[in-house]
Amino acid sequence: MNIERLVTMANDISHYFAADPDQAAGAAAIADHLKKFWEPGMRKQIVAHLAGGGEGLEPLTRMGVQKLAELDNQVTAANSE
């Protein structure tokens, strides 16, 4: 999928959660939102994009996507056990 569109969508999400004064909580909420509502292929793409430098991702979005990467890895790890 068009990565620029995904970056915009991810930033849109982080703009909402930026209101939370607790940044870590905000990042966790972003990750949770992505996990709940984004199809796995889209999640994989945004995580890969972050790994490749994450152009266009704003700071809080990056934190959220990083968290998402951890969440998704956990699940993958759990499934492969």
Partner: protein
């Protein structure tokens, strides 16, 4: 003319805790205090003669036919205007009463045509019935004197009292020669519809019914709701369909397939032919009222444009080939299987319809999840009310409105934000207007001056004329005032809401930046007005919020919904009658399609696919392994199609090529797919890009249920056989079987039984129970066996209410030198959504093209005059419409509707969307408007493509 099956008790039912017992003709009867003698008699089985009385209207007392005698009272009081009194003794028939009534009828008939045998009301005329009831045997006055009946006098001169028939309205005729001046039509227009278009003009014998200032009906303020036609006791106002076809012989209760009000109707039938639609007096959503669409605009169901045979083609440039159902289904299934084999399991998906029944919607999502083996299913609620689901679930715990419509009868302050009920939800709009006329206060937040702001006997206390895209800013300023001026209902919040979240929110909205003064430049709403409106909402008694797509279809749609829920919780306006948060749903079954698990991330009843217990229950029932990850949403499907990973789509009853934003992007996605299956009544815009066409069935051709904006589940009943052999649920079942996932339902009630089995909020629902109760508001289960009119009564569905932070994030869609105006979109009373239905009816007489509404100042700057062709250009595309100069707009904002595909309203709208749900930002697009003299490039291409597709349809060959 009233319904052929309803009993008219003369005056409306009255509610009272006090019961009164009286005697009528020696029979003892007990009724609530305030009931009329006429209604009490009717309840005892005694039908007092009447003409000007009907229980859809307040008593009037003008016809003098319903007189009675009451012991120890003088004279002959009218039973319709006389309330019952304890111990009263009434006689409804005495020699004197018989004399008076015969005398009255004699006068009526002396000025009425005697063409009963050829009259449309014949067989159901109240005047004729009353002549029979009173035993009228002669008319001593003759017919030669002054009258309203004949065009010429006996001497051959023009009769000054005679008025010719008015046939201007496409759906009903007005024949003043048959009028008895009972005022029922005038009162229906006032009391029921609230338009006040009709009046009695002149006095005494000169009295006559007039529309507006003696206009033709079509040219008057009449909105063609038909309440007057229903109320008319004679053939003065008659449906043209009744005139054409004669009286119906049977009547079937069903539910309207237009907007989210979900009116109950009686389809009055002769065999399989509809004579007329009459709103059901017992309908819980509409109480016997309707609008021009539901009552009259049903001709689309039998329109010649309907395609009643399946068709297939390899490429969209090929002519269609008419095939059997078997071949069409086999082809679609083999293509879907080929795509999955070539591109993977996740390369196909489906879209469920908010126009189809719950049972049909449920089957489509089941086909996708169980048959396709993925969760790539979505529904058109994506582009309208998905933020409602997200926002209300986050704050209160359930993705639905909190009240029933009747709750407004207890409301003191009505806050309407981003909704236009008199156009988009007209029957509820009428109910709201009735409440406002009775004294409730009104706050309207809307960029446009919608009708509700100023309409007969109603004036908004505050019109917060905000700039498009600033809903969240405005809601935050309202919250700021409520919090900083100490107007929070602390007791409610302490008892019912999460304290930490509330404390966070209180701090958040108290920030100076959200004071009305600080935000005034952003929202455009004067700070003093915001403060007054906030105080009124917080302290004016029961306050209820009604909102629509003007809230949801924004980049911050979900945030705004949460902002609304926050306001209601902070002021304690939740959990009882008269208050609440009320999303006005767009299409008939938007609520139902969402309830049915149409979203890619959740099963029925809004339960996430990753929940192992929920998923397990479906796996056990459906006998398959189900995927535990969310699938693609509609806009994601388009993106995936364009990048080549999404190849096939089954679309039931939605026209994404017209209704979804950024049309050129949508059509590019459709063209990138290898198998698009469209199931619809017509070759709609999307079907022009389809490879398989499966003919759909109208709501008249199937059994099922719809859920309206109040969570009300109502029955849709089949009144005629499907024109294309199968109802939509049957077509889905055929496709599922061909895909190798067996389905064997023999009736939609079995599908509802399965839904009930698997969905906690529907546990108690069955067709039998709906038939018994009339309708049911979910949740309906062990705890609420008869349904739930008001939600969150003692606690929120999620336990404690959760205040959510609602930072205002301005949209990226901003005006600049190139695009200096904001375009916002909406709808109009006579047309419905993409117009596929209403454009194929006489409703085009009110609205036959989409216009661009522009403020006189903006128009003058650009040299634009009324009716000029204007180009509207955004960063997404360009289209051309005709201008309408309108002071309803604020300077800087233009508006259009999207009912006609050639208008290309969605060529201009962009891919911007709600952060949480991807609901498109239809309501805010930066545009430039210029005078032009030819259609846009897109429109030329559209016209050429449409002509080509029409030719391919015309060339369709039977095997």
């Amino acid at each position: 003319m009233l319904s052929i099956v309803e009993i008219d008790r003369g005056t409306p039912a009255v509610k009272s805790d006090v019961q009164v017992t009286l005697s009528i003709d020696g029979r003892s009867i007990t009724v609530p205090e305030g009931t009329s003698v006429m209604r009490a008699a009717a309840q005892a089985g005694i039908n007092i003669p009447k003409l000007c009385a009907t229980d859809m209207l307040e008593a009037f007392g003008s016809c003098r036919l319903c007189l009675v005698e009451i012991e120890n009272r003088k004279g002959y009081p009218a039973s319709c205007t006389t309330p019952v009194v304890e111990g009263m003794k009434v006689s409804t028939q005495t020699p004197k009463l018989a004399d008076i009534r015969r005398g009255v009828m004699e006068l009526y008939i002396s000025d009425h045509p005697l063409d009963c045998l050829t009259c449309p009301a014949n067989g159901h005329c109240e005047l004729q019935d009353m002549a029979g009831v009173v035993g009228l045997r002669e008319v001593r006055y003759g017919y030669d004197g002054a009258n309203h009946v004949f065009a010429k006098t006996k001497q051959g001169d023009t009769n000054p009292h005679f008025v010719a028939k008015d046939e201007s309205n496409p759906y009903f005729s007005f024949d003043p020669s048959k009028c008895i001046v009972c005022s029922r039509c005038v009162r229906a227009c006032d009391e029921v519809q609230g338009t006040f278009a009709l009046t009695i003009q002149g006095r005494g014998f000169e009295s006559k019914v007039a529309a507006s200032q003696n206009n033709r009906f079509l040219d008057s303020e009449c909105v063609s709701c038909g309440a007057c036609v229903q109320a008319c006791p004679t053939a003065t106002l008659s449906e043209k369909s009744l005139i054409d076809r004669g009286q119906a012989e049977h009547s079937v209760v069903t539910t309207c397939a237009y907007c989210g009000v979900g009116c109950s109707f009686r389809a009055e039938m002769k065999g399989e032919e509809i004579v007329r639609m009459v709103p059901n007096k017992d309908g819980h959503a509409n109480h016997g009222h309707s609008c021009v669409k539901g009552r009259f605009a049903i001709g689309y169901a039998t329109h010649p444009d309907r395609i009643n045979t399946p068709m297939i083609r390899k490429k969209i440039s090929d002519p269609w080939r008419i095939v059997s159902w078997e071949e069409a289904i086999a082809y679609a299934a083999s293509e879907f299987k080929r795509l999955q084999a070539t591109y993977g399991k996740f390369s196909i998906g489906g879209i469920t319809s908010s126009r189809c029944t719950n049972e049909e919607t449920y089957l489509v999502q089941k086909l996708v999840r169980a048959g396709f083996g993925n969760n790539n299913v979505d529904t058109c609620a994506r582009v309208c009310h998905s933020p409602t689901g997200y926002g209300l679930k986050s704050t209160m715990g359930e993705s639905a409105g909190t009240q029933d419509f009747d709750s407004i009868e207890q409301t003191d302050v009505v806050l309407v934000i981003g909704a236009n009920p008199t156009d988009a939800h007209p029957v509820f709009g009428s109910q709201m207007k009735r409440r406002l006329r009775a004294g409730a206060k009104l706050i309207v937040a809307d960029p446009r001056r919608i009708d509700l702001v100023r309409t007969p006997h109603i004036k908004a206390d505050y019109h917060l004329k905000l700039k498009p895209g600033t809903n969240v800013a405005l809601l935050n300023t309202l919250a700021h005032v409520i919090v900083t001026e100490g107007l929070v209902d602390e007791a409610f919040v302490a008892a019912r809401c999460e304290p930490e979240a509330f404390a966070k929110w209180r701090t958040f909205v108290s920030q100076d930046k959200y004071s009305p003064e600080a935000m005034e430049a952003e929202t455009g709403v004067p700070a003093a007005m915001v403060r007054s409106a906030a105080r009124l909402y917080a302290t004016g008694g029961n306050a209820a919020i009604y909102y629509g797509l003007g809230v949801t279809e924004h980049s911050q749609g979900s945030t705004a919904v949460m902002g609304i829920a926050n306001l209601a919780m902070a002021t304690g306006n939740i959990g009882r009658e008269g208050v609440g948060v009320n999303p006005l749903r767009g299409q008939n079954n938007v609520q139902g399609s969402c309830d049915m698990g149409s979203f890619p991330h959740e099963f029925t009843g809004y339960r996430h696919v990753s929940d192992p217990v929920v998923r397990g229950s479906f796996e056990a029932d459906w006998g398959v392994h189900l995927h535990d990850e969310p699938g693609l949403r509609i806009p994601n499907m388009f993106e995936a199609a364009i990048d080549g990973s999404f190849k096939g789509l089954y679309i039931e009853g939605e026209d994404i090529a017209q209704s979804d934003p950024n049309t050129q992007h949508v059509t590019a996605a459709l063209q990138a797919m290898e198998c698009v299956v469209v199931q619809d009544l017509f070759l709609n815009e999307t079907a022009k890009y389809a490879h398989v066409f499966l003919p759909g069935s109208s709501f008249l051709e199937k059994d099922g249920t719809f859920v309206n904006a109040e969570r009300r589940i109502s029955r849709v009943r089949k009144v005629m056989e499907p024109k294309a052999r199968y109802a939509d649920w049957e077509a889905t079942q055929l496709l599922a079987n061909a895909m190798g996932y067996p389905m064997h339902y023999s009736h939609p009630s079995e599908i509802m039984d399965e839904i009930a089995r698997l969905t906690p909020t529907f546990h108690g629902v069955s067709f039998d129970k709906i038939d018994t109760l009339g309708s049911i508001q979910w949740p309906c289960n062990e705890d609420h066996p008869e349904g739930t009119p008001v939600m969150h009564v003692n606690e929120f569905v999620r336990g404690k209410g959760r205040f959510m932070l609602t930072e205002y994030v301005p949209t990226t869609e901003k005006v600049n030198a190139r695009h200096p105006l904001i375009l916002t979109t909406g709808r109009i009373l006579s047309q419905y959504n993409v117009g596929a239905q209403t454009r194929r009816t006489a409703n085009v007489m009110w609205h036959d093209e989409d216009r661009l509404e522009i403020h006189p100042h903006d128009a003058e700057e650009r040299g634009i005059k009324e009716d000029d062709w204007v180009g509207v250009e955004s960063r997404a595309g360009q289209t051309v419409l005709r201008a309408r100069i309108s002071e309803r707009m604020q300077p800087g904002v233009v508006y259009t509707t999207f009912h006609f595909p050639g208008s290309g309203a969605n060529v201009i709208t962009t891919e911007n969307s709600d952060w949480a749900t991807n609901c498109p930002e239809y309501k805010v697009t930066a545009v430039q408007v210029t005078r032009v003299d030819q259609p846009s490039e897109w429109q030329k291409r559209y016209q050429a493509f449409s002509n080509e597709q029409q030719a391919l349809l015309d060339a369709a060959e039977a095997p």
